[in-house]
């Protein structure tokens, strides 16, 4: 599903964010990318989103090679991905329903489809009762669930999460991780960037460890869910 072949990314002249990375993520896998600040894990997400280009190497996602992809093809490629950020990036002037519907409006989904999809996805993330609430009226965990709903409403093949629990307390963080696991169980490939060792160990999934741009570990962890 996702292939990195000898990928390097250098910012400016000397800042090597990723060095000679090769990895393969299978369709339907749940993978953590772990590392400290500056380890290159967020660069990985940005490379996958095609926000930045690799300095060297090839990235192939769902059979499409990202390097050399025509600019007009990029929006259609991005529709295969859902993305969740640490700071949620919700639109504060729109309620929950509108925030989720926004992701469908901008890819020109017919209104009837939006009216069907948004309530369904809000039910799935447990927020159907709060569809009229504005982001400022929700807890951090609820806001992140809205962001996940927005990422999922277009039914992407891959869900990319950049520190999704970074702004949440332990309980909310664990709820969000359980939701991501459910989503993964439905067949969506999930890649979660995190620096939380505790969550990685509790979840018991594959973990790729990055350090100063190098992949230093890639292994399966046995979970210890409560």
């Amino acid at each position: 599903m996702i292939y990195f072949e000898n990928v390097s990314k250098t910012f400016g002249k000397n800042v090597k964010a990723v060095r000679n990375l090769s990895l393969h993520i299978e369709r339907g896998e749940f993978v953590f990318v772990m590392g400290d600040s500056g380890s290159g894990k967020s660069t990985l997400i940005r490379l996958l989103l095609k926000e930045i280009e690799p300095t060297e190497g090839r990235i192939i996602v769902d059979g499409e090679e990202l390097t050399g992809m025509k600019r007009r093809r990029v929006p259609y490629y991005r529709r295969k991905l859902g993305v969740v950020f640490q700071d949620f990036k919700l639109l504060k002037d729109r309620n929950v329903y509108e925030n989720v519907a926004f992701a469908q409006r901008v890819v020109v989904t017919p209104s009837r489809q939006i009216q069907k999809d948004v309530p369904r996805i809000l039910t799935r993330v447990g927020l159907s009762a709060k569809y009229k609430a504005f982001p400022g009226e929700l807890s951090g965990g609820e806001q992140q669930r809205v962001a996940i709903a927005r990422a999922l409403v277009n039914q992407p093949d891959i869900l990319l999460c950049d520190e999704p629990t970074g702004n949440l307390d332990a309980n909310n963080a664990w709820e969000v991780m359980q939701l991501l696991e459910e989503i993964n169980a439905g067949g969506t490939t999930v890649v979660v960037v995190t620096h939380s060792r505790e969550i990685v160990e509790r979840m018991g999934k594959r973990v790729i460890v990055m350090n100063r741009g190098d992949m230093v570990d890639d292994r399966q962890i046995n979970g210890s869910e409560e």
Partner: protein, 302 residues
């Protein structure tokens, strides 16, 4: 684009206008000033042109010939004149006709005096051609050609009137082009800034749009719509002003400055609007779109 998408983009463009009302008003005011000045200049120029055409129809050039030239020789010169492209109309006035006109104009009531010259026409050598040109601007060149034609003794032309009209026309034109150029640049700059503000205020929204797969055109269109509306509004206000003020200003000038404006001819507003309406609307929309397009190109990395 689907209808839904078009409505969505128009809606977003209108929302942007509301969100940055002050910048929008500043942009509209500048375009209004630019288009208004353009419209005033257009009205002045088109009326000067109209006056010149009226003058061209009434002011002619008169050519007199050397003494002793036969009717046939004069006819030959007339044929040469008639072949020139500049000539719209020409009339031959023989010596006898000239004396008849003179007598009627100046010897009315002194017919006995006129009869004294019945057998000896004092204007026998004053046969002439009265020539009207297609374009008064060609007069100077045409007159100098006439003066070189063998047999031509004298050429009478109202060079001051023609020259004055051309100079005034040119002066108004050059000053106006300069002013309009400056206002055009200011308008584009202000709209550029207004749209940059809108883009900056919606940075997060634009990033989300990009990441969920919105196309470039979908992201850019609302900002272009915003520029388009600002341009349309900036054109509609001065056009409305011109429509309502034109007749009143002419009426005021005719009654209070009749000496100065007595010789001018004015076109009706309907005639002026036939050209001014589409041109001014295109100018306003053009400024609006250019301002927003440059801003979108520079600040919106999609």
């Amino acid at each position: 684009m689907r209808f839904n998408t078009i409505f969505y983009c128009i809606g977003q463009g209108l929302k942007n206008i509301r969100r940055h009302l002050l910048f929008t008003l500043a942009s509209v005011a500048t375009i209004t000033a630019c288009v208004f000045l353009f419209s005033v200049v257009y009205c002045v120029l088109v009326n000067l042109r109209y006056t010149m055409e009226t003058v061209e129809e009434t002011v002619g050039i008169t050519v007199f010939f050397d003494k002793g030239l036969s009717e046939e020789e004069i006819q030959n010169i007339g044929d040469q004149i008639g072949e020139r492209e500049e000539v719209r109309e020409m009339n031959y006035i023989s010596g006898d006709e000239a004396w008849q006109i003179f007598s009627e104009d100046y010897l009315r009531g002194a017919e006995e005096l006129a009869e004294g010259f019945a057998e000896d026409n004092p204007l026998a050598d004053m046969a002439s051609y009265e020539i009207f040109l297609n374009n008064v601007e060609d007069q100077a060149e045409f007159v100098s050609w006439l003066q070189q034609v063998p047999g031509v003794r004298r050429v009478n032309a109202s060079s001051i009137a023609a020259g004055g009209m051309i100079d005034l026309n040119n002066a108004v034109g050059y000053v106006s082009i300069g002013l309009i150029g400056i206002l055009l640049c200011v308008s584009v700059f202000l709209i550029h800034n207004a749209i940059s503000m809108a883009i900056s205020a919606r940075r997060d929204e634009i990033r989300i749009m990009r990441l969920v797969g919105a196309t470039k055109s979908f992201i850019r269109t609302p900002f272009l719509v915003e520029g388009l509306f600002i341009g349309l509004l900036g054109a509609a206000i001065p056009l409305g002003l011109i429509f309502f003020l034109y007749g009143r200003v002419i009426g005021y000038m005719a009654s209070n400055m009749s000496v100065l404006f007595g010789f001018l001819s004015f076109l009706p507003i309907q005639e002026i609007m036939k050209v001014l309406l589409p041109v001014a609307a295109a100018l306003g929309v053009g400024i609006g779109l250019l301002g927003s397009a440059t801003s979108v190109r520079r600040h919106l990395k999609v």
